[in-house]
Symmetry: C2
Subunit: 389 residues, 2 copies
Amino acid sequence: MQSFLQFNPTRLWFGQDQIEQLQQELGTNGKRVLLVYGGGSIKKNGVYDAVMEQLTHMQAEVFEMSGVEPNPRLNTVRKGIDICRDKQIELILAVGGGSVIDCVKAISVGVYYDGDVWDIVTRKAVPHKALPFGTVLTLAATGSEMNNISVITHWEKNEKRGWSSSFAYPAFSILDPTYTYSVPMDQTIYGIVDMMSHVLEQYFHRTENTPMIDRFMESVLLTVIEAAPKLLADLNSYEHRATIMYAGTTAFNGLLSSGTDGGDWASHQIEHGLSAVYDIPHGGGLGIVFPNWMKHCAEEDPSRMKKLAIAVFGIDPSDKTDHEIALEGIDALRSFWNSLGAPNRLGDYGIDDSRIEELVHKSFMKDKVGQYKMMTRETVRDILIRSLA
Amino acid sequence: MQSFLQFNPTRLWFGQDQIEQLQQELGTNGKRVLLVYGGGSIKKNGVYDAVMEQLTHMQAEVFEMSGVEPNPRLNTVRKGIDICRDKQIELILAVGGGSVIDCVKAISVGVYYDGDVWDIVTRKAVPHKALPFGTVLTLAATGSEMNNISVITHWEKNEKRGWSSSFAYPAFSILDPTYTYSVPMDQTIYGIVDMMSHVLEQYFHRTENTPMIDRFMESVLLTVIEAAPKLLADLNSYEHRATIMYAGTTAFNGLLSSGTDGGDWASHQIEHGLSAVYDIPHGGGLGIVFPNWMKHCAEEDPSRMKKLAIAVFGIDPSDKTDHEIALEGIDALRSFWNSLGAPNRLGDYGIDDSRIEELVHKSFMKDKVGQYKMMTRETVRDILIRSLA
């Protein structure tokens, strides 16, 4: 086990009608509020009204910024920063999924930074202060509601960059599973692939003696695998929405890396390249890339893929090589995602090999890609080619 | 799943040499420090010196209070409160196990309360402020290092009371597994029984649809069951000390009750009665009482005992009634604890039935005892009688 700090300052209010906690949180954090959201679905499904009811009751002064993109863009962040400065905002409230929350994280640290916020996203500058912000989650997927990580896209440069800061934790997050009832089938599926991918990235670590955290990761995967088909058969099930929503948060709030080296994350880097160039859904890209990354890596060292195959997919290891067991597990994962309706090849998005060198290049926005196996341009190209058809 | 708040403000520094983080924590929390510890073992095993080295380096002004009892007593808490007021202490540092930490929690809230701190312990008064405190853990057992719960004994009244407050979380806790190398065999065993009991109490809840948290609880138990015999065979193993230490914290830091009704806790109430009257080790008492509580409750409803038997003890359920499966699991638990060297009957502590009515009475320090099954004086008496021999 490695040394670690376990700390997460976010207050996670989970359950039906927890929106009422907004009043208490507002009392602590200030009443000049910037409400940030995406394409406006929250106005159709009642979430906007529920939030406004609380804000009105607290006599908050509310400003709004809508139109945050699915892969949130730098220009949108800049616009939010301007509003916060102009209107002397005291609290930002992100109402939406990971994209809206990631955007708000960048706004929150950007407000107190004199230069361009892209410096923070590209890690050229380090934030020292942030506007407090909270979230009202409407999509179970990224885990952004309880971590300090954000991904921002520079659309003109086709660059998608992840960054983090100890100032980028939400002060609070409100998770009401009923707010995800109206999430359509495809977004629900992408969210499930996304949260499972977060666990898998962390699972592919190389730290010895992390038995409890390994079991926790297997527990999250087993729970999602069990609940996902039930949820897709009944999108308005409170219990299954709740199970998936809580799993999504737990998948990526720091806990599952306690004492490990943090895992690999190459599949995420490769997917960031894909969605920077083609703007495909993050969960869709991950579902295609991840099994191919696993197959690629299992050829050298199948140890963790084997462990996963046995513990999560119930593969019988008798009379098989480690590599054979690993491959059966990878096939089981791919079959599971296919059974949900997730795409399994880049061709499903109309992507061919015409821009493959660009995709390889975009995967290397960080100096180092991968940890379970260090990636080179050649290994990334191999994984992308495996992913085409 | 029930609605819940997931929030824990303690910074948990885990790993070898994490004592160095004390400097950073001291910088945040103040330099007039009251060092609180127990019988002085920390002076023999080097922990006192390691702490003092950091405090000296930071030019802290250090006051000391030693002699906190294994079941910490109200008079010791009162003494600590007097020192804090007299010396204008800014930060209390608990160096020890759960008893020292529980004592410091009571001191920390008592400093700002005008009346007798026993009012807070007995829930007649509610704290509104507390002195910040941190912990350096030297015993893996109670989980007090990352929760807001404390148990204080009024020795003259033979009363042992649990209380909690949102102000009673440690600001930080430093967990260096090497600091537990010198914990003797018997205390190591009691700690293992104690942490497993904390998980079991929470496992016996009645909330439907908590699949992930149920698996987390099973994960903690499986991990402790796997690591405990290895640790007892090699008390200086860093990896096994680390596994057990982290399991002990995770067992009781709030996570494992997320979304459940919180579980039962009758066995703890009964044990509090026992150690209030006989001053036996908490873990020793729990190891005796808990299986008998389980057997008692399984007669009416074996559902959770059955689940535990299959998931944790690998009991084959074929061709057995639920009650039979439950009993096999309970026997496996008792056998496991016995195999570690924990006592399995009150007679091992020389306790007979002569004061049994007093023990029954002392179990009812709260109005309500139990939740999986509501206890009456008759049911508690039954469990105590089963526990005698």
